[in-house]
């Protein structure tokens, strides 16, 4: 194979992305690489459908009772799109139980039983409904959170590959500045002992002292793409050091680099 070791390492990340096992911390790195390298994109497009087809290995016969039940649910829900699974199931089950009780008769004793069981049933239905509402709220929150993360990722990738981005080389990577955003893209960072993290530092324009910025831990492979929270237009210098977990107010070790943004 003619690929260099670095290229091989990147293509292995591309394969991991195709299979869907890439950690979020390496997403921006691989996405930017795919956008910039046609050969990597071709590799991704060759492996992605193969990875998707792995799912076919899970296709199994489903017993006829389950098939019929699931089909009834899907088709019923498709006919009434506003009704979703959990509450739909609860309503249907309730209707079946109610009809059973209607047929039970009008005797007083039966009425007492009816009232008693109905109370339990209503409690059960309310509990089902509460669970369904809670689950729906949780899923909505999860979807909103995922959407925020996707938006941030998209914005970051756009900044990282922009031709008008300013790039400042540092050992093992670059500081990238675009508009008000500033990023560290680093690779092959040495693993840190337990209880230690990398911490970014900044010096504001006209300032003289390092101010603490974000702390981060690179991926196991030593990669990190980090967005600093500061306004890039107000910064004169970005630096990096190794600090105790949780970060420090002032550097406690020698900086790995101090990079003026000029």
């Amino acid at each position: 194979m003619s690929d260099t070791p670095d290229r091989d390492a990147m293509l292995e990340l591309v394969a991991a992305y195709a299979l869907g096992v890439l950690p979020r911390s390496e997403h921006a790195l691989v996405t930017a690489y795919l956008l910039a390298d046609p050969q990597a994109r071709a590799e991704f497009e060759a492996l992605r459908p193969v990875a998707d087809l792995v799912g076919l290995a899970a296709e199994e016969p489903v017993d006829s009772g389950r098939t019929a039940r699931m089909k009834q649910r899907v088709l019923a829900a498709a006919r009434t799109p506003a009704v979703v699974s959990a509450s739909g199931t609860a309503r249907r089950t309730g209707g079946e139980r109610s009809s059973w009780f209607v047929g039970a008769g009008l005797a007083a004793a039966a009425a007492v039983v009816f009232a008693f069981v109905s109370t339990i049933q209503n409690f059960s239905l309310r509990s089902d409904l509460a669970n369904a509402n809670s689950r729906a709220a949780s899923l909505q929150a999860q979807i909103a959170q995922n959407e925020r993360v996707r938006m941030r990722d998209r914005e970051m990738v756009a900044d990282l590959i922009a031709t008008d981005a300013q790039r400042f080389p540092v050992p093992q990577g670059e500081v990238i500045k675009r508009g008000t955003h500033v990023y560290l893209t680093l690779h092959s960072l040495p693993p840190l002992p337990r209880g230690r993290v990398y911490q970014a530092w900044t010096i504001a324009k006209g300032g003289k002292t390092l101010a603490p910025s974000i702390v981060f831990t690179p991926s196991t492979a030593g990669n990190a793409v980090v967005a600093l929270p500061e306004n890039a237009e107000a910064l004169a210098v970005v630096a990096l050091s190794v600090e105790p977990e949780g970060g420090s107010k002032a550097p406690t070790t020698k900086a790995l680099f101090v990079r003026p943004l000029t």
């Binding site: 799912g55 076919l56 699931m70 699974s85």
Partner: protein, 170 residues
């Protein structure tokens, strides 16, 4: 799919009959819980019914597999910390030659191709797809060095592709 796009309920029912085993199978393998797998199956088919245009063209089997996996990852995401990023179901591709070739692939063919892989490659690929974990987590769980995990996944996918291509051409 064209008839489903045209809101034909009979076509939708036929689609359900043809593909529910795949969707339920992936969901059950990933979630290991029949009730949640049933819910997820319903959710995937309702997504197809309400947003049929989310499938543009290409290999429907592969697209459906990815959509189901992404939905199952959403469920798993609420249970675990080490989650991979999902690949968008509508990510654009430049050609559809593979889609045409691989459209002939069925589950038996995929199982045979997976079985032909060296065991150490097959295990990592299956754990990655169905386990919904990152390659780092795979390395941690199996005790295999991360670099080896990455190499085996890439080699395994490349070999799987070659085997599926040769199976189609036979």
């Amino acid at each position: 799919m064209e008839r489903v796009r045209a809101r034909d309920p009979v076509a939708f029912e036929h689609m359900y009959d043809a593909y529910h085993r795949l969707v339920f199978g992936i969901a059950l393998r990933m979630l290991t819980d029949t009730t949640t797998a049933e819910d997820l199956t319903q959710s995937v088919f309702l997504k197809i019914w309400t947003s049929p245009d989310s499938f543009r063209d290409g290999n429907f089997n592969a697209w459906l597999s990815r959509v189901t996996r992404n939905r199952a990852l959403d469920v798993l995401r609420s249970r675990a910390a080490h989650m991979p990023v999902e690949i968008p179901a509508d990510i654009p591709t430049e050609g559809n030659l593979d889609d045409i070739v691989f459209a002939k692939i069925d589950s038996q063919c995929v199982r045979a191709a997976l079985a032909a892989l060296p065991g150490e490659q097959r295990a990592l690929i299956e754990m990655g797809f169905f386990g919904g974990v990152t390659h780092e987590e795979i390395a941690r769980r199996t005790g295999v060095p991360l670099g080896t995990v990455k190499t085996r996944i890439r080699s395994g996918l490349r070999r799987l592709r070659a085997d599926l291509q040769s199976a189609v051409s036979r």
